[in-house]
Symmetry: C2
């Protein structure tokens, strides 16, 4: 039987190697040579899957976004009005989420001067804000949030707050412990009159 | 009379050229060659002032931080309790402040894997949070904020919120207009019971 090469699997391996390089050694370490060494293949194989490093960084970014999306799906499926749970799913509270944020911050530098990457970042931020708005509406309809609140403004503010907390925690994890990150979100939700559902109070 | 070379002036020129390169063409455009071309000097002159690009990026970052510090000083000198004014001085509401944030975001990628740069970023965030706390205390002592509020928690939350708004506005300026940025800060201050002083309501 001929040896079967699973192209999707190989593509995922290359993307995972790129992720590790960026997270552990920085954006500058993301070269065709380093990725090939990490996967244990030739540089030709890497180039077969990704025409350049911008495309590979893009794939790495997308993989992190897909992971984040799956976390949000899980929270929303369990309780569509679990705003605190949704926001916590976005925060860098564990190794996986910290790595995802490191990828996004690395990507931002390039997005500053690349309109295609900028559009990707913009789309993701808008989608996240929309999901927060959905959760706020569900929380309001189940009586956990005042119906009079301005959902659109609240969603934009919470979306920015999560991004800011992630940035602070990434560069100052000692001060921005998981407990402080959660407390900051909790204080904001308390301010907008959110009465947390029991499962939002869990300390995972 | 011999031609006099002002070293501080030349150093500032090199730093300003680095800033323009990063803001207009991205981090990758920051090379000794490009900086020398922009200043109109030899690469030797650039190397005389900055031993490597990491040092030049550091100087560029610091220059942006000094500018931001001066903006905060001006607000605090006019009214130590002008929390809204202080936060607005940090937001990317005009070309200068947008460029400063672009510098910081460009710097973040390197800060992820460079402990020295990380320490600079950490120090700056902590200083900003401290200044916000000072303004909150001044606002409370002048009766514009409930005395019972948790100044430390509020300052950390506002500091994260400003950073998040800046990130959103940098990548999605159409959605995060100056009006939305100000409204987001205004809504947060309204939530914590801040009664804005008249000069905080100005629309500069």
């Amino acid at each position: 039987m001929p040896r079967y090469v699973d192209h999707d699997q190989r593509r995922r391996e290359v993307t995972a190697a790129a992720r590790s390089l960026v997270v552990e050694r920085g954006r500058a370490a993301l070269t065709v040579r380093n990725v090939a060494d990490a996967v244990g293949c030739s540089t030709k194989v890497v180039s077969h899957y990704f025409t350049d490093m911008a495309e590979l960084l893009h794939a790495t970014y997308t993989a992190a976004a897909v992971r984040a999306g799956a976390r949000l799906d899980a929270v929303a499926a369990a309780d569509p009005g679990d705003v605190a749970g949704l926001l916590e799913a976005l925060l860098p509270l564990d190794a996986e989420r910290r790595a995802d944020w490191a990828i996004w911050f690395a990507f931002w530098t390039e997005a500053l001067t690349d309109e295609r990457l900028r559009a990707v970042q913009r789309h993701r931020a808008r989608t996240t804000t929309g999901r927060i708005a959905d959760a706020l509406r569900a929380a309001a309809s189940s009586g956990r949030l005042p119906v009079a609140s301005d959902v659109d403004a609240d969603a934009h503010r919470l979306s920015a707050l999560v991004q800011g907390i992630a940035a602070q925690a990434t560069f100052d994890p000692r001060r921005w412990t998981p407990a402080r990150q959660r407390a900051t979100i909790g204080a904001e939700l308390a301010l907008i009159g959110h009465r947390a559902a029991p499962r939002s109070l869990r300390r995972a």
